[in-house]
Amino acid sequence: MEVKTILFVEDSPTMRRIIANSLKRLGYTDIIEAENGVDALDKIEGKTIDLLVTDWNMPEMNGADLVKNIRAMPEYETLPIVMITTRGMKDDVIKAMKLGVNGYVIKPFTPEVLRTKLEAILK
């Protein structure tokens, strides 16, 4: 699957830079960055995204609620979604799966883990 535009949502400025740099190194250059779910929904209005990469714990609207909102949009029913988070409990992972998340990466992660995960869900 060809990915043109990535919506990337992360509240920590440091993590935003680290993940954005990682995505760029993997060849994804068209990245819409947002600080939280509300900001993300604002920024994608009138645009088309091909992949969502989101954190879970964020103010205003967290990643789980963002995924719910995105999945409720008919055009994004099958959008590939990757969650990158510190939440490593089994219940969290199951909840994410039920919400429709396709890939789940625990922080801290390596570029290799991110690459493998993206390749797997974009096949």
Binding site: S12, P13, T14, M15, R17, I18, N21, S22, R25, N57, T86, K107, P108, F109, T110, P111
Partner: protein, 209 residues
């Protein structure tokens, strides 16, 4: 009213009085049963009051430092974020320089060396994830400190209210205050624990340089 009617009315009144007396009797019986319990409860409360008074003073002392602890946690988060951003700025600058160098005509060995350096920079950047993770842990610790502070304040207020309403408690609390009221010792402890940190600018201003 006829005699028989009066008699019936008196009989009804007597019945009511008897019922009341029986009720009172059963109340006394109940009172008798719970009397030992009440005595025990009173003894327990008398024993508890000095402990509560001690708790009140300990709480007053502890809650005074809670806001500092909470602020220090928030400050640690900001400091680590600022430091990480500085490192990130420099790493991104170095990466841009390396890419510029690599685009010029270089021999294979140098290109390989530059590639290795770029990988090392990536490793450093990835290691900086610790900042976000520790910041989240610090935030959670801060929230716990604030929650404890809130509950301790409520407990402290409740103890004060008991002291205001109950003369016995007030007397015990006041008495305890005299016992522990060594102001010099408290001031000394206060100085040790107080965060009197000043900025470099403040120090420079003090030294006039």
């Amino acid at each position: 009213m006829s005699v028989s009617k009066k008699g019936k009315a008196r009989g009804k009144e007597t019945g009511t009085v008897l019922k009341t007396l029986m009720g009172m009797e059963s109340l006394f019986e109940f009172g008798g049963e719970i009397s030992p319990f009440l005595e025990e409860l009173f003894t327990f409360l008398s024993d508890l009051m000095p402990i509560l008074a001690k708790a009140q003073f300990s709480l007053r002392d502890s809650t005074r430092y809670m806001p500092d602890a909470s602020d220090n946690i928030a400050s640690a988060e900001t400091l680590s974020e600022d430091a990480t951003n500085t490192i990130m700025d420099n790493l991104e600058g170095i990466t841009a320089d390396l890419e510029a160098l690599n685009s010029s005509n270089l021999d294979a060995a140098t290109q390989e060396k530059l590639g290795t350096l770029a990988d090392k920079i990536t490793d450093i950047q990835m290691a900086l994830q610790f900042q976000d993770i520790t910041a989240q842990h610090l935030r959670q610790a801060g929230q716990i400190v604030e929650a404890i502070q809130l509950r301790m304040s409520k407990l402290f207020d409740a103890l004060q209210t008991i002291g205001e309403k109950n003369k016995l408690v007030k007397a015990i609390v006041d008495n305890y205050a005299q016992d522990v009221g060594d102001e010099d010792a408290l001031d000394h402890a206060d100085q040790i624990r107080r965060d009197d940190s000043v900025s470099q600018a403040d120090i420079d201003a003090l030294f006039g340089n």
